[in-house]
Symmetry: C2
Subunit: 558 residues, 2 copies
């Protein structure tokens, strides 16, 4: 830590601050400051501590999690600094007995002596495995706990949720994140857009997220837009230039109307289009005049099959006359499976009737409170949907609104620490550790193994015993075909380690998609998935249990 300017700041040069300017050293729990003060009072604040950040249980009843949020943590650490306003607030709110020396100490701290090791963002990860290992002066690392857990918790949760939606939807569908309005606050929305993209979504409706992260944007119009129009007389400028620029259609409105009449009169379409809604027709026509290159209409404001679809087709056919290809429609209510099939049939009939190749293949987007279950149900019913717009259930992680990420002390001054608990699942795995992923002969990951920092690493072709950390009888020999060390250095602190470069968002997304594809299918299935194994080395196993017995009081039944 650059106290007294005695050490040159090395980490974080040129790394921008967190995306949300509200992520400052004050975004932490009060008890981090009371503890920091106590450490400082006791002269313990510079003691070197090692904390692990991990979760205990995969979310959504699944057996995998996508790790996300790392970049924001690194950006936070790289720019960690309290300002005078912060110090003033702490002075007035910590305690009447708070000494000025502590405030001076706070003024001087940064994270230049903090080391952060992490699994790369976008990786598939499992319970009990440290996603991050943070080493540094205990007072400083303690202050990082809350923001780190906050930044990882929701990010990993929503990436995982997105990955699960992708898994059910299938690779060929387009997935659109539409959740900003229902998200838990402004950056609940922005975060959801970013982390849904990492988890495999294709685009977002959130303009801020598009601008911040370069995520592709999607959006058409709302029901209010449709009902804000009265009739076609409202449209003043009716001209539309042909796509090839060769000439201009003077009255696009009449062209639309003539197509609507053709559709209505056609016997082969078997429609009942006698009274399509004129507000809707005016809205679609106006929208096409504004966006002839990407005309996509919401067709359920009045009645999908009797108004929305014929109105849409009339506009799409008129556009086609001028060389433009409409994109398709969005359904936001009703029986999506049934309606999508009916719409597809009609599109195909029009393709045939009017000799328009490709009209039948126009895109059908569905929205309206979709989630994993509804996607699964749609698949079972059969449908003709090409793209899903998913909001509330995705961005708020409605099925499970939080991931239980924890941040636990595993070593201080080179002495391993354990936190015991009556619930075995809450006992921590002590020591500064390394983590390896061992792969089998078919290329799939077999098991993650945690070892002490100084143990020899597992080697390809060499048999190694992998033990369940807490259950004596669960153990297996593995001969790995490939060994991957998972923790990499993202902040070197005052060590001379090489820091990883933060990859662009697209690379994180690609890593995630690739890792998910490489998972064995029994870990991925929605119903009764097989747990992926997380183990410890024989040496670490023995040490955990030695320490545990040492710390736990012997009970006495009375």
């Amino acid at each position: 830590m650059a106290v007294n300017g005695s050490k040159k700041k090395k980490s974080g040069q040129g790394i921008p601050g967190p995306t949300n300017p509200m992520v400052t050293p004050m975004l932490t729990d009060q008890y981090q400051f009371t503890m920091a003060y106590t450490y400082w009072k006791a002269g313990k604040h510079q003691e070197r501590a090692v904390f692990d950040l991990y979760f205990r249980k995969n979310p959504f009843g699944g057996e995998y999690t996508v790790f996300a949020g790392l970049e924001e943590c690194v950006r936070f650490v790289a720019n960690y600094k309290l300002n005078e306003e912060d110090i003033d607030y702490i002075k007035n709110n910590l305690s009447v007995s708070c000494e000025d020396g502590f405030l001076d100490y706070l003024r001087r701290i940064d994270c230049s002596d903090v080391e952060v090791y992490a699994i790369p963002e976008g990786s598939v990860v499992f319970p009990k495995v440290p996603l991050l290992r943070i080493e540094g002066p205990i007072a400083v690392v303690q202050l990082l706990e809350t923001p780190f857990v906050n930044l990882i918790n929701f990010a990993s949760l929503v990436s995982t949720n997105a990955a699960r939606h992708r898994f059910v939807a299938g690779k060929t569908k387009t997935l659109l994140e539409f959740g900003l309005r229902r998200a838990q606050g402004p950056d609940g929305g922005v975060g959801a857009s970013k982390y849904s993209y990492i988890g495999g979504f294709d685009a977002t409706s959130n303009v801020a997220a598009g601008m911040l992260f370069g995520i592709p944007l999607r959006g058409t119009h709302s029901h209010a837009f449709v009902s804000s129009f009265m009739n076609l007389d409202e449209i003043k400028d009716k001209s539309l230039r042909k796509k090839d620029g060769s000439s201009t259609c003077k009255d696009f409105v009449s062209l639309v109307q003539s197509w609507l009449r053709k559709i209505e009169r056609s016997n082969s379409l078997h429609g009942n289009f006698a009274e399509t809604n004129q507000s809707e027709l005016a809205a679609f026509t106006s929208y096409a005049l504004a966006f002839p290159h990407n005309f996509l209409a919401l067709v359920d404001t009045y009645d999908v099959m009797r108004s929305g679809i014929p109105n849409f087709c009339a506009v799409a056919l008129a556009l086609s006359d001028l060389g433009y290809k409409a994109i398709g429609i969005r359904l936001d209510s009703g029986d999506l499976a049934y309606l999508s099939c009916e719409v597809r049939k009609l599109f195909c009939s029009i393709e045939k009737e009017f000799g328009l190749p490709g009209f039948g293949k126009m895109s059908i987007t569905a929205s309206n409170d979709l989630n994993e279950e509804t996607l699964d149900a749609l698949n079972k019913q059969g449908h003709e949907i090409d793209a899903y717009g998913i909001g509330t259930y995705l961005v708020t992680c409605y099925a499970q609104a939080a991931l239980g990420v924890v941040f636990k002390l595993v070593e201080i001054n080179n002495k391993p620490r354990i936190k015991i608990s009556e619930a075995v699942s809450k006992v921590t795995i002590p020591c500064k550790k390394r983590i390896y992923r061992l792969y089998g002969k078919d290329g799939y990951a077999l098991v993650d193994i945690l070892t002490g920092e100084n143990e020899p690493s597992p080697k390809v072709g060499e048999r190694i015993l992998c033990r369940h950390p807490f259950e004596e009888s669960k153990r297996a020999y593995v001969v790995p075909r490939k060994v991957e060390e998972l923790l990499r250095c993202y902040c070197a602190g005052s060590s001379d380690k090489k820091e990883e470069i933060l990859p662009p968002l697209k690379d994180i997304r690609e890593r995630c998609i690739k890792q998910l594809e490489q998972m064995r299918s029994d870990h991925m299935r929605r119903l009764n998935p097989t747990p992926y194994k997380v183990s410890v080395s024989a040496k670490l196993y023995d040490f955990i249990h030695f320490l545990w017995l040492n710390e736990a009081p012997v009970g006495e039944l009375r």
Copy 2:
């Protein structure tokens, strides 16, 4: 709207921007911009539109909702302005055919011509009642939809969740919001702190929220803090000045140890304290040396009754010798009802044994995944808990992670609009409306009634017919003893209406607590609460159904 500078900006003078700097005009859905462009292309962008913001169903299976988030909306509107970077991004991402004139238009817009009417923040509200009515040029108001819904949705949800937790906990308990680390992103945490406070919580652990909003802070220490100590030898500075400053105890550590021996030897305490954990004792002693005025210890790192409590008592008794009064303990695991009773008994025994008045009344705080159900269960079991620290379930609104707030067009160019739907619950109530809350003779609110803007208002002592908006047979005469108009003007736009002053957070909280107390208990109970009635005037009823029939296509069964 101050297009061409022809109108002097009036609203929003001196109102600061939104708390989160990420809340900008870009925090909206892409389709708001595509619609704005289409309106502009069609020359419709200045048409005066009226939108209602409301929700359809109370959250958490209850029959009431606390309205929150208004201040952030007003701050957003008062500072609405796109910058050149925003314009550039829109230019490059909206459409190849986007005309420069539209970008010029975007450059010039602000909300000086937008009127915002709202129910005061902190009010108890009900489904279908407009919480906000927004009037202005359709293109601008449309752009506000997403941020408004985002800002109200989570705010109201979490305030309601907090109010529900308060209802179960009872008025006398202290409620602490401890959720930052598990919240959905950084300002999911900050927002949860603010809106939990409005809903009746007393304090937060979130330092940023304390600093931003003046919410009282609470916090002690973690399990990691306890296990970061090895033993009492670590404590170098053992001196502690008496509270009255009269002298200094040179060896506070020895004083603690001597008290621990007294506790251990006492027959009347019936304890089994032979081996309290020394890490824990060192941690507590250090904490007391740093915070002698507010010593509160987490006692469950090793074993509550056999280590944590005797260690705590030894330190508290030593502090007492020096004139300090310890605050109490926190339990974060185990059977909270049982442990709290055991702890209380021991505190009382110590009070008696050592003649220390007040020792038995020390505060017992409980945490560990608490929610409405666990609070209810604790009440049924009987317990001695004084304060609850509530995190995950409160701040993520785990029981229901989103409120379905919507934003619907009800009028354009003075023409009422309706959005029909096969689901009656989704049909909108058209027209620019007024809302009144009618009170009965016992002082309780009886019914909310929506009327057309120009209808005469309900009068005290005069009988008025209140009709269910959609169910013909549900109607009742009411003779109100008090009539309260709910919508007030927060942004006057270019009208000459008087704007409400934004009240301080404390006043919002007080309004909320008072309104909740004034609710009839059958609306508030957790099991099968009675729905509060929301009605429309006879005139509005007739108009809704006239418009509905007019817009809905007549079905044809084939």
